[in-house]
């Protein structure tokens, strides 16, 4: 099927401001948006710039705004979008070139919540024990691939870029509810800050955007409850 592919382009070495370019491309039955982008880049216009690596939704490189929603280009089938496809960079981020945005602030927010296991007890000879139930408690939030689709879909983040954002809270959740971790207190303290969980307005955009199907709003609620309980 012939598809009208509109792409928001911006080359800082040539353009004053972003502009739309339209390409007419032939899409195969199982083609994904990433396939169309490659077709344009490889056959028509080598200057088209985007990130990608795994091409099957596990590395988090190619989150972008596709027909008005944040998604991974490698995971959206064109036949599910129809004949008109529009692609723009993730909202609320500084654009470096075309679909490539500056990810540094996003990773800084991620790092700010201590996204690593803290357990200073001497390591046992064998594994630390954890029951299947304890393991299941934080299973959902271990799936995050840091693609930034959720954070950049969040109106609270657009309004206040210092908001730590859904992705960072998801990663804090992953440790706060891990029975082996000892730093929940510190993480909850960080998230009790004015740029922490309170900025969430339960709009659910993040949950809709997540390509991994993580119940993000639920995770944020669980963290908010933990913050409240701690204040007791």
């Amino acid at each position: 099927m012939l598809v009208d592919l509109r792409i928001l382009r911006f080359d800082p070495e040539r353009d004053e401001k972003p502009h739309w370019d339209t390409y007419s491309v032939e899409s195969g039955p199982m083609d994904r948006v990433l396939d169309l982008l490659h077709q344009v880049k490889w056959e028509e216009d080598g200057t088209l710039t985007f990130r990608r690596s795994c091409a099957h939704g596990v590395c988090g490189s190619d989150a972008m705004l596709i027909n008005g929603r944040n998604r991974l280009a490698c995971k959206v089938r064109v036949d599910q979008l129809g004949r008109r496809v529009s692609v723009a960079p993730l909202p609320g981020m500084r654009v470096i070139k075309d679909l490539v945005v500056d990810m540094e602030p996003f990773f800084d927010q991620y790092k700010s919540v201590k996204p690593f296991l803290v357990n200073e007890e001497p390591e046992p000879e064998r594994e630390r024990l954890q029951s299947p139930k304890e393991r299941a408690r934080y299973d959902d939030t271990t799936k995050c691939i840091l693609c930034a689709a959720c954070t950049t879909a969040c109106p609270s983040f657009w309004a206040q870029p210092s908001f730590v954002g859904p992705a960072a809270i998801v990663n804090a959740h992953r440790f706060i509810f891990d029975s082996r971790d000892h730093a929940s207190e510190e993480r909850l303290e960080i998230l009790a800050d004015e740029d922490g969980v309170w900025r969430c307005r339960t709009i659910f955009n993040c949950t809709d955007a997540c390509p991994r199907g993580i119940h993000i709003t639920q995770a944020i609620l669980e963290v908010s409850n933990a913050v409240v309980e701690r204040r007791g």
Partner: protein, 581 residues
């Protein structure tokens, strides 16, 4: 032209690549208080280690009796006796402490009812030297690699490792017979950076992108091996490339062997479990080379589904609960990329280019060795898929790569720590970045020429068709001629993007050059080896030949044909025997 002062960095240790191998090495160095730079062309969490699904093996014995000796034996036999047994011993022994350490770092393994790390079966892993399958693969659902990558990156943040994200390493600095650093191209602005360092680890992953159908990420273009090759370092055992049996038809995305570990069947057009004929004992859990060949033979004899070039992976008898709990990701892949519902429908699969057994030769300390006598090149290390130590020999077992990248990434980090204590930051010539800068400039500004993407597509096709699961002398000669021709055309390739900011057009063309080098070494090594062993199957020489060929290939770059040399295999425990399953 010299690189401005502010773009020259000094580090006691430099690591190229932030997959499992690079990150664990970085962590070892950071814990020793050594200031370490990790250079990576992708953000660390985008590395392809994150795509690994099935598991990581270690003889923990959490469900049933298991021993590292059994693991070692399976590895040696799985590799068709081309495995260096001293290295396999290190792997199998240290696997246990390595997996336990991962758990201590926070990796969320699935658990047994009594809270231990859960384990499942995987192809070629057996109890008591081949008796029956054993539960040795430790896993976190079917996203084990994702959890390994995340956990190691998290620990690197905790220990303050310095990351240079989206720095593309484009050259190694080797002067006076020792390692002095690397040259990198910063993707954001196209500036060259020089990293002076006495110790450099190459951990750049695989090069599956030289084949048309592959499970490998676009970024897996053999940068490390090609750069080493260009500096006169040989590439070892390049003819051994693994084709994984269960790739999604047409696009190669992997459906993990875990699907068969959990009990999935392979069926031909008649609905038969055809592995009965080829590996009666282990059936669908036989080694990958055996299964991929069986699939091709079924197809060739007209028993592909509907006479086509694929077979079925059947999970329907496992039931919704098992499929959704243990194989959620691959179930989703089938749904998204094929529109198939694996709970009720069989999934069409075909072999996909998956894993490089060969690569940069190293010893068991992960030091790069450059000749038949295993002479080390001081300060240069390699670990992970880009290296060949060789624990996988002619064919790798499932779950043995994740453990390989971690065991030897860890050893690399430890040995680098020793090395940098004895060696200061070396001098490098002021214009050291000039040759590679000039190459990149020529490529970026060439006014006319061929589209490099066409060269890449032709390379991938010829490698798949003539140097794939089955090979013959004639097919390899054809492949070699095409590769030479493509190399020639590559010298005249032209990129369209002339910019300096985030020029991926330029970098993809640069990466194509690396793939061509890796392909040249692969085809040449395959042409020379007139026997069949593991992943290298010559229809004109269908037998394994231990008298002539129980040795590792070393391909050296020359101006013309690569030069082939050979070195012996280390055999410490298990004498070669016929390999049946």
């Amino acid at each position: 032209m010299t690189v401005p002062e502010r773009q020259v960095h000094e580090f006691p240790a430099v690591i190229v690549g932030a997959g499992g191998a690079g990150l664990w090495a970085a962590l070892e160095l950071a814990r020793e208080g050594i200031d370490t730079a990790v250079l990576t062309k992708l953000y660390p969490t985008r590395s392809h280690t994150g795509a690994a699904q099935g598991g990581i093996c270690a003889a923990l014995g959490n469900h049933e009796e298991d021993h590292w000796e059994w693991h070692m034996f399976d590895t040696v036999k799985g590799g068709d006796y081309l495995v260096d047994q001293d290295a396999a011993e290190v792997l199998a022994r240290e696997a246990i402490e390595t997996v336990l350490e991962l758990e201590h770092m926070g990796l969320p393994f699935n658990r047994t009812p009594d809270g231990k790390i859960d384990q499942r079966r995987f192809g070629g892993h057996t109890r008591n030297f081949g008796e029956a399958p054993v539960r040795r693969s430790c896993f976190a659902a079917d996203r084990t690699g994702h959890m390994i990558l995340q956990t190691l990156y998290q620990q690197c943040i905790k220990f303050g490792v310095r990351f240079f994200d989206e720095y593309h390493v484009v050259d190694l600095i080797i002067e006076g017979g020792e390692t002095r650093g690397v040259v990198a191209y910063r993707i954001a602005d196209g500036e060259m950076h020089v990293f002076r360092s006495p110790a450099v680890l190459l951990a750049t992953g695989g090069f599956g992108r030289m084949f048309r159908i592959t499970s490998n990420a676009h970024a897996l273009t053999g940068d490390g091996p090609a750069l080493a090759y260009r500096h006169g370092i040989p590439l070892e055992d390049m003819e051994f490339y693994q084709f994984h049996p269960t790739g999604i038809v047409g696009i190669g995305i992997l459906l993990s062997e875990a699907a068969r570990g959990e009990g999935g069947y392979l069926r031909n057009d008649a609905g038969e479990r055809f592995m009965e004929k080829y590996a009666p004992k282990l059936m669908e859990l036989g080694p990958r080379d055996v299964i991929s060949r069986a699939m091709y033979l079924e197809v060739r004899e007209g028993r592909g589904i509907g006479g086509g070039d694929y077979v079925h992976l059947d999970l329907t008898h496992l039931g919704r609960a098992v499929i959704e709990a243990k194989l959620p990701d691959i179930t989703e892949f089938a749904r998204v990329y094929q529109g198939i519902e694996p709970i009720t429908q069989p999934v069409p699969v075909q072999p996909t280019a998956h894993y490089a057994m060969g690569g940069i030769p190293t010893d068991v300390m992960a030091r790069v060795v450059i000749d038949e006598k295993n002479t080390a090149l001081p300060g240069l290390y390699a670990a992970g898929e880009c290296a060949c130590v060789s624990v996988h020999g002619a064919n790798r077992l499932g779950t043995n790569s994740l453990i390989d990248i971690l065991v030897f990434g860890r050893r690399a980090g430890r040995d680098m720590a020793r090395h940098v204590r004895r060696n200061g930051v070396p001098d490098v010539p002021a214009d050291v970045a000039e040759p590679v800068r000039a190459e990149l400039e020529a490529l970026r500004t060439r006014p006319v020429g061929e589209n490099p993407n066409h060269i890449r597509a032709e390379l991938a096709s010829v490698m798949m068709d003539e140097c794939g699961v089955f090979r013959t002398g004639t097919s390899l000669v054809r492949a070699y001629n095409v590769v030479c021709d493509l190399k020639d055309r590559y010298r005249r390739a032209q990129v369209q993007d002339r910019g300096r900011v985030f020029n991926t057009d330029l970098l993809e063309a640069r990466e194509l050059g690396y793939l061509l080098d890796c392909a040249e070494a692969t085809v040449m090594s395959a042409m020379a080896r007139t026997e069949s062993r593991g992943g290298h199957y010559r229809e004109d020489y269908p037998q394994r030949d231990d008298t002539e060929w129980l040795q590792h290939s070393l391909a050296y770059r020359t101006e013309g044909r690569p030069e082939m040399r050979y070195k012996p295999v280390s055999i410490t425990h298990f004498e070669p025997k016929p390999r049946t399953y």
